[in-house]
């Protein structure tokens, strides 16, 4: 069965520190990969997505993610975080193929990130 695991449930760091959140998935076929973010009191928003091509993907607000196929990983990074990056971050996967569906997202459990001033 397909699954997504996020390595850390909670991360606390200071402003200007670098952030890296791990995401691994288990699925035998080709996948599309996503990172979503949920800021306090707001709805889930798409940070970035990977479908194909350059495995280094840049998203909004200075975030980027790298797809490493051999490791089944899609880690999220930001070189220097701000207090406003405090949020919960979710990695998500959906299979890609002839019957591809953009609805059946499989999410990880999420990582709560707290950035202290």
């Amino acid at each position: 069965a397909q699954s997504v695991s996020q390595h850390n449930h909670h991360v606390i760091l200071s402003e200007a520190a670098s952030l890296e959140l791990g995401c691994n998935y288990s699925y035998g076929g080709t996948v599309n990969l996503f990172w979503y973010v949920q800021y306090p009191g707001q709805h889930l928003q798409l940070l970035l997505k990977y479908f194909s091509g350059d495995p280094l993907v840049k998203g909004i607000k200075g975030f980027e993610a790298e797809f490493i196929k051999s490791k089944f990983s899609f880690n999220l990074r930001k070189p220097s975080v701000q207090w406003s990056d405090t949020a919960e971050y979710f990695c998500a996967v959906t299979p890609r193929g002839l019957t591809d569906s953009w609805g059946k997202l499989q999410f990880g459990a999420g990582t709560q990130v707290v950035v202290t001033p």
């Binding site: 709805h43 479908f51 953009w102 609805g103 059946k104 999410f107 990880g108």
Partner: protein
């Protein structure tokens, strides 16, 4: 522009009751997906509606059913509520194209007593 809207925002029910949650998709979107998010967990896919039909379904019992109307709005119905159905229910909409991401609503918080 109006994003995905869900109603109600909060709901309290008792075991055995039935509930209906509603979702209006973002303008221009024709596909609606529903997710259940339990406390401390990521969202779990319930089902997806397109052209008024259930197109895909996750691992949820038949107590969970839905509907999509010609204007693309959607309902999630849950019968015979259990304590374990307490969760945040999220609606997401998208255009039925391969390169379109899903847009999420704020969710309905359902509490079962």
């Amino acid at each position: 522009d109006a994003g995905v809207t869900q109603s109600p925002t909060h709901l309290i029910k008792t075991r055995g009751q039935q509930v209906t949650l509603r979702c209006s998709p973002k303008s221009g979107h024709d596909t609606v997906s529903w997710y259940q998010q339990a406390l401390g967990q990521g969202p779990q896919f319930i089902f997806q509606y397109y052209e008024e039909e259930e197109r895909q379904r996750g691992n949820f019992p038949d107590r969970f059913s839905g509907h999509q109307y010609p204007n693309y709005s959607s309902e999630l119905n849950v019968n015979a509520l259990l304590l374990g159905d307490s969760a945040l229910y999220l609606c997401a909409s998208s255009r039925d194209r391969g390169d379109q991401p899903q847009h999420f609503g704020d969710g309905t918080r359902l509490s079962i007593l």
